[in-house]
């Protein structure tokens, strides 16, 4: 294939060294085949994109190269030599660094202190400040603009990601693996990241970039390998793909995702089911997180709240759910003032809540599927204060069937379920109670494409059934796709409001606080 491409493009790819070569790699988890006989060749000075749906095996492959998983079979060669990578530590010693989807940094320490932790060139008792100079050099060379003395908690998502890049450079990275690095970035930040990555590559390093976005793959890569259901279906220079072909390769022929929902107009709009008036909420450290926000959601519509992480969305959703105190302002659910009431009176008024941290606030991991499903109305399942679990199991069986929850049964512990199935369980529990308004915070965070589209379908069904949805999401695509109206949150306030037909660009600028008058 290599010969063929060099013939087609007239430039010699043969001259480039093969940095990483993977051959015959397979990995199973129980009965599930995650990777089947995967071959991959990554050359020096190249950005190699690993493209595929969630669940195609991209992250598994990256984790194997980084030593988090061990392959069942197959050979990994690094610079021509066969290597046995047993742990991330091994990987780092070879010069392989993985930047994970969410920044792995200590929030309440400075950038320099964080970077000093794994930095070999410092004695145990030397000051972390001694690497500030090194950080500045790296910053200058690659056009990174992170203040080494800033607290990590004060940085934006994209800045934290750049700290991770600096960390990789300090570790003298030869092969940098990035797992879905752009999910939480605005397009401006994404372009900046790509500029940095291109500099890294021109500097003799190689990059393996994992993404599920086809256009992004075409934008940044030199070479694209498409993974589908654990198998490599194509691997060639990017110029040899067309967009349509690439989409087909990614999704496959029998697309079960064909049911792409068109969020056309629903029925008639009802009355206000959620009213938030001049709401002020503080964050954990006493700062104002939500500043005089007013929102109203009517029955039969989805109102989206977009924004970059950390602009008050978390505090807003917790305040509406009754998990966080309201400083001033009012919250009305279905006309009932619940401002200073607890969560239970809110759900009696008709509120359902799909929390962001589903394991922390959504379910009790050590309790069974059935127990979790009746958590909100367990009193209806008890007689003389004793719980009648047999009734709960009956309800659970219905929910499992109706919502297609993959589980061994009602008595399985919830923490054994996958993220997508836990989310289905939460939605099943919330919808069972016929809510008037559903507040969903990042409902598809970390879910694969299939689970995501299922969740989206449920949210739309809620809307069609005449209830309202407040969708607080940091995934702009999701907000655009589902919402009838969008509000953009920035630094605790609503800076933009628009109805269906919004331009992505305007929303993104608003997310950065740039609002055109």
């Amino acid at each position: 294939m290599v010969n063929q491409t060099s013939f087609l493009h007239g430039k010699s790819i043969l001259a480039k060294d093969v940095v990483l070569s993977v051959s015959g790699l397979s990995k199973r988890f129980g009965n599930v085949v995650a990777l089947r006989n995967v071959d991959l060749e990554l050359r020096s000075n190249e950005i190699h994109v690993l493209l595929g749906e969630n669940g195609a095996g991209k992250t598994t492959l990256a984790n194997i190269i980084y030593g988090i998983y061990r392959p069942d079979s197959g050979v990994i060669k690094f610079f021509g030599k066969e290597v046995d990578i047993r742990s991330p530590k091994d990987a780092i010693s070879y010069g392989i660094v993985l930047v994970q989807q969410y920044p792995m940094l200590i929030e309440r320490m400075t950038v320099a202190e964080n970077l000093a932790l794994g930095f070999k060139g410092l004695g145990l008792l030397t000051s972390p400040k001694n690497i500030i100079r090194v950080i500045r050099e790296v910053n200058e060379k690659y056009g990174i603009s992170v203040d080494p003395e800033a607290l990590v908690s004060s940085l934006s998502f994209s800045e934290k990601q750049q700290v991770e890049l600096i960390r990789a450079l300090l570790l003298n990275v030869k092969l940098l693996i990035l797992d879905e690095p752009t999910t939480m970035l605005t397009s401006y930040e994404r372009r900046k990241l790509f500029t940095i990555l291109k500099k890294l590559v021109s500097d003799g390093r190689s990059i393996l970039l994992i993404t599920h976005k086809v256009l992004e793959a075409l934008e940044v890569s030199d070479w694209i390998t498409v993974l589908r259901r654990g198998e490599v279906v194509a691997s060639r220079p990017k110029d040899m793909y067309s967009v349509d072909e690439l989409v087909k390769l990614v999704v496959g022929d029998n697309s079960e995702l064909g049911s792409v929902i068109s969020p056309s107009k629903g029925g008639e709009l009802g009355g206000d089911v959620l009213e938030v008036k001049d709401l002020v909420v503080l964050n954990d450290v006493g700062g104002v997180a939500v500043n005089k926000v007013s929102i109203s959601v009517r029955g039969g519509e989805i109102v989206g709240i977009a924004g970059v992480t950390g602009n008050g969305q978390k505090e807003l959703s917790e305040a509406i759910a009754g998990l966080r105190k309201v400083r001033s302002g009012r919250i009305l659910i279905n006309g009932v003032d619940v401002t200073n009431k607890g969560p239970s009176s809110r759900f009696r008024a008709g509120l359902a809540y799909i929390p962001e941290e589903r394991l922390k606030y959504g379910v009790v991991g050590d309790m069974s599927v059935a127990e979790n499903l009746i958590l909100k109305d367990y009193d209806r399942f008890s007689k003389f204060t004793l719980l009648k679990l047999s009734d709960a199991v009956k309800v659970a069986d219905e929910c499992i069937k109706a919502f297609n929850i993959v589980t061994r049964g009602p008595s399985e512990k919830v923490k054994a379920l996958s993220g997508g199935n836990i989310q289905k369980l939460i939605i099943a529990r919330e919808l069972r109670l016929n809510p008037k308004v559903v507040v969903a915070h990042n409902p598809t965070l970390g879910l694969d494409l299939r689970s995501t589209s299922i969740v989206h379908e449920y949210l739309l069904n809620i809307k069609y059934s005449g209830s309202g949805v407040l969708l607080i999401s940091e995934d702009l695509d999701e907000v655009i796709k589902l919402s009838d109206r969008v509000l953009v949150m920035y630094r605790g306030g609503i800076v933009y409001e628009g109805v269906r037909g919004f331009s992505r660009e305007v929303l993104e600028r608003a997310m950065l606080g740039i609002v055109d008058v």
Binding site: K27, R28, F29, G30, I68, Y69, R70, P88, K89, I92, M104, L105, I106, E107, R108, M109, E113, N114, A116, L117, G118, F119, L122, G123, L124, L125, T126, S127, P128, K129, R167, D284, V285, G286
Partner: protein, 316 residues
Amino acid sequence: MIDIVLIGNFIFLTLKNAVPLILATTGEVITERSGVINLGVEGCMIVAALVGVVTTLLSGNYLVGLLLGGLVGALLALLHGLATVVFGANQIVSGIATTMVGLGITSLLGRGYVGRSLLGLRPSPLYPYDIPLPDYLKPLASAIVKQDVVVYISIIIPILCMWFLFKTKLGGAIRACGENPVVAESLGVDVVRTRLLAVGLGGFLVGLGGAYLSLGIVGSWVENITAGIGWVAVGLVAFSMWVPLRALLASYMMASLISISYMLQGRVGISSYFLSMIPYIATIAILAIVSVERFRLRLGAPAALGKPYIREERLG
């Protein structure tokens, strides 16, 4: 006119009484900064107090007693560390068990030492000579100057710990373990080893404090000699917002309360039992304030305090 001798006496007592509090609080600050609560402070102190007396009697040198007291404090703390950091036991339960063991074992093994005099073996003033100052200044000056060497060391230690925790890479690693052990591990910190180090180091300082209690303050072994000082130190850790220099100040504040309650006994018409309650009531008040979760984080409590870290098993 206020009695200058009385004030001198008060300052002298406060500086001395503060030593065990400073050492124990600073030690526990280091331990808790790594994410481990050691409620065994009281137990570590009392065992160290007994070991200090016994080894001083055997060796004839209180410095030996002091250091061995510190060492035993570290060992006992490491036992707690082994249970909680290595085996993931509940930190509260293990800590309280450590205290119970300490209290029990010392009252059993200490019987033969009750009342044994340490005459000539106690820490002596660093500057025992007469100070060439006018009479009205002498009591104040000698309160400060005529202390033993440990009193001065106890002032330097929090400063050193300040530097250690906030200005060195190892100190940063300890704090990282207390903030987010999962991330710390991924950044290249060996969480188990670092936490054990912090627990041991903290235990050593706690032990020093305990040994000074019997050697420097009381001057002999008495059953239940700590009388809750270890618990007071645990309270002061939160009150000092996990900052060693604030631990120094907080300890002096608490020690002045202790000294006042001493000096008032017999002088005012309040029951001495009530007066000796003052420091403990203050501790309860402090703990009540700082135990509100959101308030704690605002104060600067390590985010992962008390949470065990177990290296994640590989999936599949």
